[in-house]
């Protein structure tokens, strides 16, 4: 239905993307993802004809968009814009009725019946009929987004483009809007949406096109496209891809742009506190190792999702020799040891007796008696206590032994 072939677009002499090809079939809902500035909006504008591409061709329903009159384009492709601010007190119904513009001739009679039917249907479909008479600038951002979707529906086109349809919406409306688009696609439209939220894209779209570095980096099922490697390449950032526990679709957690630090930290602990410590240090660019962590614990899950070197042990069990050795080896390489809400098990006490600086992080419940008792055995002059994982980085950097810097000439 939407057929993009070898599209190259330059703006102000700079190539935005080159040789982009993709198709969206009838009944398909495809997400266009990619970092800011990858040209998602530009690609949509090249498809709907607002921009003229440098080379390449866009066909919708077999017709080259570049050769179509404005009116014909308006009957082939409808676009839900990103900026939903309207600024004039047109009523919601007025705005939706403007979707019928491509069917009006300036002087001839217009088919008012067909217009009214299309507008009615669009209002009902998007659940906007109940505030059809209200000024469009008095409805909420989420409602306004649906109004613009209704306008696009009134256009009655085979192809539907959406530019960040969920950007200004709360969680609830994001889901509603995307389910609606998904239904519309299922009823025969070809829908292509630039979407920021990768989880939502994975959940609602049949296919994901990853646009980055001026080209299509990946194009396929959500599971195939959303893997840590291609996302890392596209977004210049580390990402952890897990399976969402409720929806069962891939879920992406961006971990921020990594700035590698010459700092290795070993984390021991449990639960949310340890998980946050691991995340925070890793995000900050430290090399993080962890263990022993109880199997299935949130901390272990976090370390695994990030691909960190981790030693896990069965929860409530005693630590066997192999585990102890592996932990000891990791600890040897670390510059700082962080004990984040460590378990009370006596078996762990010895692990904290490190010959490197130790930072202890209190758990959610405040200073923990067990942790206090255990860390007492570490050399007190090298132990720093922080109250929350939010401050762990600062403490670690402070206590980390100074490395010899290469001498300047």
């Amino acid at each position: 239905m939407i057929d993009v072939d070898g599209l190259t677009v330059a703006r102000g002499g700079v190539t935005v993307f080159e040789d982009v090809s993709l198709t969206v079939e009838e009944g398909e809902f495809v997400a266009l993802v990619g970092p800011n500035g990858a040209g998602k909006t530009t690609l949509l504008q090249a498809i709907n004809g607002v921009l003229t591409p440098g080379s390449g061709i866009v066909r919708v329903d077999g017709r080259p968009i570049g050769d179509c009159s404005a009116r014909d384009r308006g009957r082939l492709v409808a676009t839900v814009p990103q900026d939903t601010h309207v600024g004039f007190d047109f009523s919601v119904e007025d705005i939706v009725a403007m979707g019928r513009t491509p069917y009006h001739t300036r002087f001839g009679r217009t088919d008012r019946e067909a217009d009214n039917r299309a507008v009615r249907r669009a209002l009902e479909r998007t659940d906007t009929a109940r505030f059809a008479d209200r000024p469009v600038d008095e409805v909420s951002g989420g409602e306004r987004q649906r109004v613009l979707l209704a306008r696009a529906l009134a256009q009655d086109t085979p192809a539907l483009l959406l530019d960040e349809p969920t950007a200004s919406l709360d969680v609830n409306h994001q889901v509603e809007t995307l389910s609606l688009v998904s239904d519309l696609a299922a009823s025969g439209k070809a829908a292509l949406a630039a979407i920021h939220d990768l989880d939502l894209a994975a959940r609602f779209c049949d296919r994901i096109v990853l646009l980055a570095d001026g080209r299509v980096l990946a194009n396929g099922s959500p599971a195939a496209v959303l893997d840590a490697t291609s996302l890392g390449a596209a977004f210049d950032a580390d990402a952890a891809v897990t399976t969402h526990p409720t929806t069962g679709t891939p879920s992406v957690t961006a971990l921020g742009e990594r700035r590698d630090r010459d700092l290795t930290v070993h984390v021991v602990g449990t639960g949310r506190t340890a998980a946050r410590v691991i995340a925070r240090l890793h995000d900050a660019g430290a090399t993080v190792t962890a263990g022993p962590l109880p199997e299935g614990d949130l901390a272990a899950e976090t370390a695994r999702a990030r691909g960190l070197e981790t030693v896990t042990a069965p929860a409530f069990g005693s630590l066997d020799r192999g585990v102890r050795d592996r932990v000891a080896r990791l600890r040897e390489e670390a510059a700082v040891l962080v004990a984040a809400d460590p378990p009370r098990a006596d078996g762990i006490a010895g692990l904290l007796d490190a010959h490197i600086p130790v930072v202890t992080v209190d758990g959610a419940g405040g200073p923990d008696a067990g942790a206090q008792r255990q860390t007492a055995s570490a050399r007190p002059e090298t132990t720093t206590r922080v109250a929350s994982p939010a401050h762990v980085l600062e403490a670690v950097v402070t206590v980390a032994p100074e490395r010899e810097l290469p001498a300047d000439d």
């Binding site: 009116r71 308006g74 814009p81 309207v86 600024g87 007190d89 047109f90 979707g99 513009t101 256009q155």
Partner: protein, 366 residues
């Protein structure tokens, strides 16, 4: 209520107000004439054009004699009611042409103002935003200050100056086949400033004719004749018809150019047509009446508050309200012991009213 029906009712209502204002205005003047006599004299003045013949006259341009086609319209007068001769002459020869011209100018400026505000999506846009009035002022003041150097009449010079300024601004703001609205706006401001400097300089050099030039710049309708109405009225009606045909497109343009594009509007072509027609209608008004400010700015604002932003109803109501407003303002201008330029009256009446609206209702945006 359906837009068409609403438009009809508002237009009928405003037409009734316009007729009432016209009749009331015609009773006012140094010679008091009662309303009934005015009504009868006005009916007698109603003319239906029934035929056009073209005569060729010669006119002197640069000393040479050039044949100029002059259309000669023949009229049928359906009424001939008995009215005292003096009253008939005053109403028909003196007051009505001026009132009619005020109505045409108000009609033109207000409809052009409504279009420009929508086109620029800017509440401060007025009909002269792309330099029309400044261009007209250069033409008019040059004619007044240096009558020998300019071979045309004042109005022709003003009209030519207005269109030259508008076209210049458009050309400056265009890149390839695109004309970004923001560039147009800024180019308009810059060109207006430049032409303002030219006008100021000519005023300094104008000597004896300074008073006449200043008077023109303030906008005035004294000494209006039916001939001016005959030229401007058809132009105004024709231009309005074109603008009205684009009312839906203007609505869609309010959503932004990219949106308008995806909704099937040929954006650049539509912009060119709207800009050209609105500039022509403004140029015609300014060249016969001088620079009358504020009408084209506030009348569309007030009407937008009353009828909403839909140009299908906003354009005709603004045009009719503008006509009535300028007739009323010009009546004030000429009713006092000494006549003042109508531009002063429109600004003096319009600005406080606009400020009142600003404080009491939402006029923060279009």
């Amino acid at each position: 209520m359906h837009t068409g029906v609403r438009t009809l009712w508002w237009s009928v209502g405003l037409s009734v107000i316009l007729v009432a204002v016209v009749l009331a205005s015609a009773t006012i003047g140094p010679v008091a004439i009662d309303a009934l006599t005015v009504a009868r004299a006005t009916l007698n003045a109603v003319a239906v054009p029934v035929g056009v013949s073209v005569a060729v006259e010669s006119a002197g341009v640069f000393g040479a004699s050039v044949p100029v086609p002059v259309p000669d319209v023949s009229y049928y007068y359906p009424f001939s009611l008995s009215v005292p001769t003096t009253a008939e002459v005053i109403v028909r020869r003196v007051r009505l042409p001026r009132i009619a011209l005020a109505a045409v100018v108000g009609f033109s400026l207000s409809s052009a103002g409504a279009v420009m505000q929508g086109f620029f999506r800017n509440p401060m846009a007025d009909p002269s935003i792309i330099g029309v009035s400044s261009g007209a002022a250069v033409g008019a003041v040059a004619t007044i200050a240096f009558p020998l150097a300019i071979p045309f009449g004042l109005q022709a010079a003003a009209f030519a100056g207005a269109l030259a300024a508008a076209f210049g601004v458009y050309a400056i703001a265009s890149e390839g086949n695109r004309t970004p609205v923001a560039t147009l706006l800024l180019a308009g401001v810059a060109v207006q400033t430049l032409l303002g400097a030219a006008v100021s300089y000519m005023l300094l050099q104008s000597g004896q004719s300074l008073r006449e030039a200043v008077y023109w710049l303030m906008g005035q309708l004294s000494g209006s004749s039916w001939a001016e109405v005959e030229v401007t009225l058809p132009l105004a009606v024709l231009a309005f018809a074109v603008l009205y045909a684009y009312a839906r497109d203007l609505n869609v343009l309010l959503l932004g150019e990219a949106d308008a594009h995806t909704l099937g509007i040929e954006v650049e072509r539509t912009k060119r047509i709207l800009l050209a027609v609105a500039s022509i209608i403004t140029a015609a008004a300014v060249s016969v009446a001088g620079v009358i400010g504020f009408v084209g700015l506030i009348v569309p604002h007030v009407m937008r508050l009353l009828v909403g932003p839909d140009h299908r109803i906003l354009l005709p109501t603004s045009a009719l309200a503008g006509a009535a407003f300028l007739v009323a303002a010009d009546t004030f201008a000429r009713a006092g012991p000494a006549e003042v330029p109508v531009g002063i009256v429109t600004a003096a009446l319009g600005a406080p009213f606009f400020l009142y609206l600003l404080r009491n209702r939402e006029v923060h945006a279009l």
